[in-house]
Amino acid sequence: MKTLVVYLMAGRQTPELAEAAVEGGADIVELGFPFSDPLADGPVIRRAAERALSEGMRTDACLECLARTRERVDVPLVPMTYAALLEAYGYERFEAEARAAGATSLIVADLPVDARPDLRRIQLVAPTSTDERIALAARVTDGWLYLVTVTGTTGARDRLSTAFAGLVERTRALTNVPVYAGFGISTPEHAQAAFELADGIVVGTRAVEVAEDGPAALRDYVRSLRAEMIVH
């Protein structure tokens, strides 16, 4: 059974949305803690982050949101954020408070594997990563590896799917850690390729878009992804 990870931006509706995602078949929920200047995010998640910040979703409010989400779902919950928030909050304090609020692990999009080795987190690897870095990331990651499948440009799909297959192959040769593919999985082609090669997929941007239409829409969307995954 492949793993389905759904990303949601922290906000007032997140506990209900997370519950709907889990009902639809999500195995893990990532919870975005918004940052004002998110280098790894495209326009959709950036806008969601701006909106969340304007609604007051600062670190303490995000931790509170995490705790309320934890009350409603049993699946692993993983905050995903940027180093700026941890710098300001204190790395150890952030980790402790997040765990206390129900976080299973943590993803920091701009903290490379060789930085802050003491902070246990899910590591990301990219098509540009060297074998040496993939091996290091696999050794220290917290449970699974987040494979960045695309780099986000339109028109680069052929090249990127080639890069993704190569990345999975290289990673498999180096580690037995489960690999979940994310970044840019929104089209059926990407999802299909990812289902075939990886142990799971992370759906972010599309989930954030669908979540704007409420929990029912999100549940249906996740259910449709789940059905695709069973087919493959």
Partner: protein
């Protein structure tokens, strides 16, 4: 974080996708700087294309009672110190085999300097510029277009240098294999702050020799405006080991990331930033687009903390007054950015002052 640190500042806070490119850049840079052929090619370009050395001008009417020397980076080709950096990084990009350049620009000076070297080297060139900055620095947009660069407006967030920088980095993430990111200031992830400092150090190196020649002694104060801080770090590089020379940076009053900032992470590095207690970045404001940035190079944060350099500020009005006064008293129209440094000259407790006139003011008319 263990690479590229200035005290606790600097480092590499970027998505994994960029790390191999930063490693490649660092290796290429380390090799280039040891290679006499690279330095010779750069020196030749700086001289025959850029117009170096730039002169020192004594500004007696602007600063009566003092001996104020202006380091005339406004006379460099394209009208600002930015070309020192873009020529060096263009040579580096060529060595790395990259044929496409992306850059950010605030005032447009770095964008023009980038578009210029791209035309000269035959590189494809994309410059990200905040929509608000495109409006207020229109002549530079036209210059970039004429030079063959594609200027892409950035229409979200603050629509200034801050968002333009994020967008240039995102472009680099998406095109990292073919593209060199030609950053315009001593900011960003390691090794950029070091590369830009070293390429701008020609300002301080020349100025030191020139003022010794003119006055037979070192200046009491070396003074420069600070946005990201590249002209200042280049000037300071010539004097940082001369403990008797005070290093003074002048920030825009409402963009004082050193004066009013706190430690945080922005655009790939830890530095002193305008940020709230949660680490969210705050808006900066300045009439000078080149200073309108909530961050600053990590080395400046380190120089501030160590006490080696001091940082003050000037308001928009003070800068505008100094802008006009230099024009009327010396026949030199400065950019609004160095006008901030000019605004602080009169009250300095020093007689012999060296000021980096980082650019000319045609863009600000």
């Amino acid at each position: 974080m263990t690479v590229g640190l200035y005290g606790t500042y600097g480092g590499r806070y970027v998505p994994e996708t960029l790390i191999p490119a930063l490693d490649e850049l660092e290796a290429g840079w380390d090799k280039a700087r040891e290679d006499p052929a690279f330095q010779a090619a750069l020196d030749r370009l700086l001289g025959t294309y850029g117009g170096r050395p730039t002169p020192l001008t004594l500004a007696e009417r602007f600063a009566p009672g003092k001996r104020l020397y202006l380091k005339r980076e406004d006379l460099l080709h394209t009208g600002a110190h930015k070309l020192n950096n873009t020529l060096g990084q263009a040579l580096l990009a060529q060595r790395l085999g990259k044929g496409r350049i992306v850059a950010e620009t605030g005032a447009g000076q770095h964008g023009v300097a980038t578009a210029t070297v791209c035309a000269r080297f035959g590189f494809e060139c994309v410059v990200y510029m905040g929509a608000e900055d495109m409006e207020r620095q229109r002549p530079n947009v036209e210059r970039m277009n004429l030079l063959g660069a594609e200027v892409r407006p950035v229409e979200f967030g603050t629509q200034t240098l801050r968002e333009a920088t994020s967008e240039a980095i995102r472009d680099w993430i998406a095109n990292v294999e073919t593209t060199h990111y030609l950053i315009g200031s001593c900011v960003g992830p390691h090794p950029y702050p070091e590369i830009v400092r070293e390429l701008q150090a020609v300002i301080g190196g020349e100025a030191r020799a020139q003022i010794l020649e003119a006055e037979g002694r070192l200046p009491e104060i070396a003074l420069a405006c600070v946005g990201g801080g590249s002209n200042a770090i280049g000037l300071f590089a010539g004097f940082v080991d001369d403990s008797e020379v005070r290093l003074v940076g002048v920030e825009a009053h409402d963009a004082a990331s050193l004066g009013d900032g706190r430690p945080g992470v922005l655009h790939g590095a830890r530095s002193s930033l305008l940020a709230d207690e949660d680490g969210q970045i705050l808006d900066a404001h300045s009439v000078a687009a080149g200073l309108d940035y909530p961050g600053v190079g990590p080395e400046h944060a380190f120089l501030r903390d160590s006490g080696r350099a001091e940082y003050v500020n000037a308001t928009d009005d003070e800068a505008r007054d100094a802008f006009e006064r230099l024009a009327r008293t010396e026949g030199i129209i400065p950019a609004l950015e160095p006008a901030h440094a000019l605004a602080r000259v009169a009250e300095l407790d020093a007689e012999l002052v060296l000021l980096c006139l980082s650019g000319r003011g045609d863009k600000d008319l």
